[in-house]
């Protein structure tokens, strides 16, 4: 049962084939069996999950039938959850129990989803491998020596290994799409403003966006229906007409115009990934889509601009972690400055400190124009590139990542790691919706195809991805979990 999609589980619960309590217990058993190795969860909420499941079963008995009622979910550990530890993958929040729920958490809970726990992530969502988590690396279920990607690596690994039916993640530069690609699942980064950021611990406020990580595009549509919507607590969330993202999943792709950006099929791309993506595009052509090559001339500037803007915003966003009101405080501070310095030096990890320093530098007097202002100009250029491209095409398709999941501890410097996000980052700068769907395997590891659409055209993305998943089986492949072998070896 645990390997089923959300849509299937919803039907099974509605048909009385199982109960939420049974389902929740099954996932908790799977977590108990595999989380020690995968380290996908930082916190597991077994008791409250069973209680929520029982409540869901009672609600169903009383006539409720919401699609997510009783379905177990995992939340990335940067969504604030009332009464449950929320760490953002950092030592500095090792003891932080939020007194309130993030809007995303609140909406999913109101829809009846059962929270299994909080998933592992790169510290403050800064990373592409999950290696910067204070709570240890999460592992890729397809190969335990590989990273699951990041920063939503725990959520992606949990979905891939059936440690939950669905999960939430956030994406600032690729943090939903890249781990989804590495773990062979479906991930959606909605348009900026589509989902409320209230209660989501900020990394880079103008880029962060929450979205679902699931087994199928249909599941992503079901989740997005609940997650999306304007929120008066988030001034940057956008009031859009209500939409049922499942309603257009089965639209025909006949006449769909697909653009392949030539900049995303260049020498840095693993050739096996290139041919997998081209094969996937061929499947869409068979469904009636038309394909043309397009130009995104400023693609190569996106990473540089991102690594100014995101750290700049982060340097301010992370100032509140000062040891004064909550979180980690150093032992025996001699004075205020000592408390600040040591609490932050000891509480933050290396990558976070690096980005705070980069951001602080970029905003400093005398450097602002050269870095921050210039990065904002590039951001506009990147946005214009996409706007121009979307005059001729409906969807832009390419690889999600240049290579499949890399080995743990293999990235020797941070810049090489940053280049992993070369195809995903531009969307965040432009605020556009993007998706990664499984599109094949390279060296026994799943790889992802990235779909991009215009602002607020998530329905188009989900439609294309769903149709693709109707004619392919990549999303149905399952990793063989090797926990028991490892246990016996040990």
């Amino acid at each position: 049962m645990i390997e089923k999609t959300v849509a299937e589980l919803s039907a099974a619960l509605a048909a009385g084939e199982t109960t939420s309590v049974a389902l929740t217990q099954a996932y908790l058993d799977q977590i108990a069996a595999h989380n020690e190795v995968l380290n996908a969860y930082i916190t597991v909420c077994a008791d409250s999950a069973i209680a929520q499941a029982r409540a869901a079963d009672e609600a169903r008995a009383a006539g409720s039938s919401a699609p997510l009622l009783g379905i177990p979910i995992a939340h990335k550990d940067l969504f604030c959850t009332a009464g449950v530890k929320t760490t953002s993958g950092s030592k500095i929040l090792h003891n932080f129990i939020s007194p309130y729920d993030a809007t995303v958490v609140e909406r999913l809970q109101a829809a009846g989803a059962v929270m299994l726990g909080k998933t592992n992530m790169d510290e403050f969502a800064m990373g592409s491998s999950n290696e910067s988590s204070y709570y240890g690396v999460a592992r890729n279920p397809w190969n335990l020596d590989r990273v699951p990607g990041g920063s939503s690596g725990g959520s992606a690994a949990a979905v891939a290994a059936d440690l939950c039916a669905m999960a939430t993640g956030t994406d600032t530069g690729g943090s939903i799409r890249q781990p989804a690609a590495f773990c062979g699942i479906t991930g959606l980064k909605p348009s900026y403003g589509r989902v409320s950021r209230w209660g989501m611990i900020a990394y880079a406020s103008s880029l962060d966006q929450a979205g679902p990580l699931c087994k199928t595009a249909e599941d992503a549509a079901i989740l997005l229906n609940v997650m999306a919507g304007v929120d008066e607590k988030d001034s940057t969330s956008i009031a859009l007409p209500p939409e049922d993202f499942t309603a257009t999943l089965n639209n025909s792709l006949k006449g769909l115009r697909i653009g392949l950006p030539k900049q995303h099929f260049t020498s840095g791309l693993n050739p096996a990934i290139e041919s997998a993506v081209r094969n996937a595009v061929a499947e869409l052509e068979k469904l009636g889509a038309e394909v043309k090559e397009i130009n995104l001339p400023n693609s190569d500037l996106a990473i540089s601009a991102y690594y100014v803007i995101a750290p700049a915003e982060a340097s301010a966003n992370l100032s509140r972690f000062d040891g004064v009101r909550y979180g980690y405080r150093c032992e025996n501070p001699v004075d205020l400055e000592d408390m600040y310095k040591r609490s932050r030096s000891e509480g933050f990890g290396e990558e976070v400190k690096r980005r705070i320093m980069i951001g602080t530098y970029a905003l400093s007097a005398g450097f602002y124009d050269a870095y921050y202002r210039k990065a904002q100009k590039i951001r506009r250029l990147v946005k214009e590139d996409y706007a121009r491209a979307f005059e001729d095409v409906d969807v832009i398709i390419g690889p999600t990542t240049p290579s499949p999941a890399f080995a743990l501890n293999s990235m020797k410097d941070s810049v090489t790691m940053y280049l992993e996000d070369i195809y995903t980052i531009a969307l965040n700068l432009a605020g556009l919706p993007g998706m990664s769907v499984p599109a094949g395997f390279v060296d026994g590891l799943p790889i992802g195809m990235q779909l991009v659409a215009k602002d607020y055209a998530e329905a188009t993305l989900l439609n294309v991805a769903h149709q693709f998943q109707q004619v392919t089986n990549w999303h149905k492949k399952k990793p063989v979990l090797t926990t028991s072998e490892k246990t016996t070896e040990a």
């Binding site: 604030c80 953002s88 301010a316 000062d322 205020l336």
Partner: protein, 476 residues
């Protein structure tokens, strides 16, 4: 050498919204520490700001009152620095695109002339909390009740040339703000705060001297004292051959001096950048006109009307419009009593003296405009004399009965019965034969003494004009 003083003021005004600039917490003054701080004010992770539109309306209102350009698209920025009473580690302010742009206001100088003072800008920002250094056994307490309270920072041009001008500007600003009712603007409570940029230059020199910024000035009186101290200090430094260091100085009211703050606190790089959690404020003409329609009559215009409608002197009018409450009080008294000139005298002299004596606000006064108007009417209809009216006024402080009952009960009604007055006059003539003789010998000014005797004998109740007349006829 003769020096000229150059002053610019930065005035912070707490806007009197019910809730904070970016959160729903209350802004009441004096509440128990940290009882008005919610999860946003505490900067819990994941919380986001939501702009209080009432604060924007107040800022725009102020802008229109000083004839300023209103920013059609104003942008909030983050100003980064670490301090325990700044929970987010940055203050949200407006750097390049403030809501209120260039404007001006007019002050009256001591010689009666007027001077226009430029206002560079006024921007919105959030207040910090308070660090409490006393009563915590060597530790520091943090009170975040004030954190996030909306402030309007009003920056003047360096147009002020003396401490007196600075005070006049500040008082004018205070008056406008009170008329607009956008802030309590009480300096002692910190709802209006003033930093002064002060420099001096040799008379005739065009270039400004190096300025210092004086902080921590919390009354009108201290503004004058702090600036005067600082000007003298700068003169002394220059005359001793020294140079002025650009720095921030704290005013110490107890010692009446300014002191340098540690340079470390001054050398901050605030790393401003646009606040990504908030959208720019877009203001259209319709919004501006809607706010303009709510503007009250402002002090300058009201004073002009008092001169033209009530025939007051410009000086009296200026005194009466200083606060909206006082002007309202005067206008009610004038209308109800039917004598604006008397009303002006009573309000600006007797009432003002009463308020000063007890340190009362106008609203504390037991003598409301309606009661004072009745009192004035009784003077006009000769029920009491102007002098007796002062006694009645005193009595009205402790006696909440209506004015006529007080006059009646205390037997203060003026004696106008000519029979009674004649016997009074006869008595005085009999008692003062020497003065009577002097009068008859042609020293007519002695009549004043005799009238005075009559008044004394009547305990002030006799109608002096009648007494005068009767005396003259009896002595002729």
């Amino acid at each position: 050498m003769q020096y000229e003083t150059v002053i610019g003021l930065e005035v912070h005004v707490q806007l009197s919204t019910e809730s904070k600039l970016f959160s729903g917490s209350a802004t009441t003054f004096g509440a128990e520490p940290n009882t008005q701080a919610n999860i946003f004010d505490l900067a819990l992770p994941g919380t986001l700001p939501v702009l209080n539109e009432k604060a924007v309306a107040m800022a725009v209102k102020f802008g229109l009152a000083i004839g300023a350009e209103i920013g059609k698209r104003s942008v909030f920025d983050r100003k980064n620095y670490f301090y325990p009473d700044l929970p987010k580690g940055y203050q949200v302010s407006q750097l390049d695109f403030p809501t209120v742009g260039k404007g001006s206001l007019t002050i009256s100088l001591e010689d009666g002339s007027e001077k226009v003072i430029g206002v560079t800008r006024a921007h919105m920002e959030e207040d910090a909390g308070k660090s409490l250094h006393e009563d915590y056994q060597g530790m520091t307490g943090i009170d975040l009740n004030r954190a996030g309270t909306p402030l309007l920072e009003i920056v003047s041009e360096p147009d002020l040339r003396s401490a007196k001008e600075a005070v006049a500007y500040l008082k004018k600003l205070h008056s406008i703000i009170r008329y607009l009712d956008i802030s309590d603007a009480i300096m002692a409570q910190g709802s209006m705060r003033c930093d002064a940029n002060v420099s001096i230059r040799p008379v005739g020199q065009e270039e400004f001297g190096t300025r210092t910024e004086i902080k921590n000035i919390n009354s009108f009186k201290f503004v004058e004292k702090a600036i005067n101290y600082e000007v003298q200090r700068q003169k002394d430094v220059l005359e001793d051959g020294g140079r002025i260091v650009q720095e921030t100085r704290l005013y110490d009211a107890d010692k009446d001096e300014t002191r340098s703050m540690r340079s470390k606190e001054v050398a901050n790089d605030y790393r401003y950048f646009p606040e990504p959690d908030l959208l720019p404020i877009v203001i259209d003409d319709a919004y501006i006109e809607a706010i303009r329609a709510t503007l009250p009559e402002l002090p300058d215009r009201r004073a002009a009307r008092f001169v033209s409608d009530y025939g007051l002197s410009e000086y009296d009018a200026g005194v009466l419009v200083a606060t909206r409450e006082m002007a309202d009080y005067f206008e009610t008294t004038a209308t109800l009593s039917g004598d604006a000139k008397l009303a002006a005298n009573w309000v600006s002299q007797d009432l003002q003296a009463l308020l000063n004596k007890h340190s009362w606000e106008l609203s504390d006064s037991p003598i409301q405009a309606e009661r004072l108007a009745t009192l004035i009417q009784r003077i006009k209809d000769n029920t009491i004399s102007g002098k007796i009216a002062k006694t009645v006024f005193e009595a009205m402080l402790d006696d909440s009965n209506d004015v006529d009952s007080i006059i009646e009960a205390k037997g203060l009604k003026q004696v106008t019965d000519s029979g009674a007055l004649e016997s009074l006059v006869d008595q005085v003539i009999a008692d003062n034969p020497d003065q009577v003789q002097q009068y008859r010998d042609g020293k007519v000014q002695v009549i004043g003494f005799l009238v005075g005797q009559c008044m004394q004998l009547s305990k002030g109740k006799a109608n002096p004009a009648q007494v005068n007349e009767i005396l003259r006829s009896k002595l002729s």
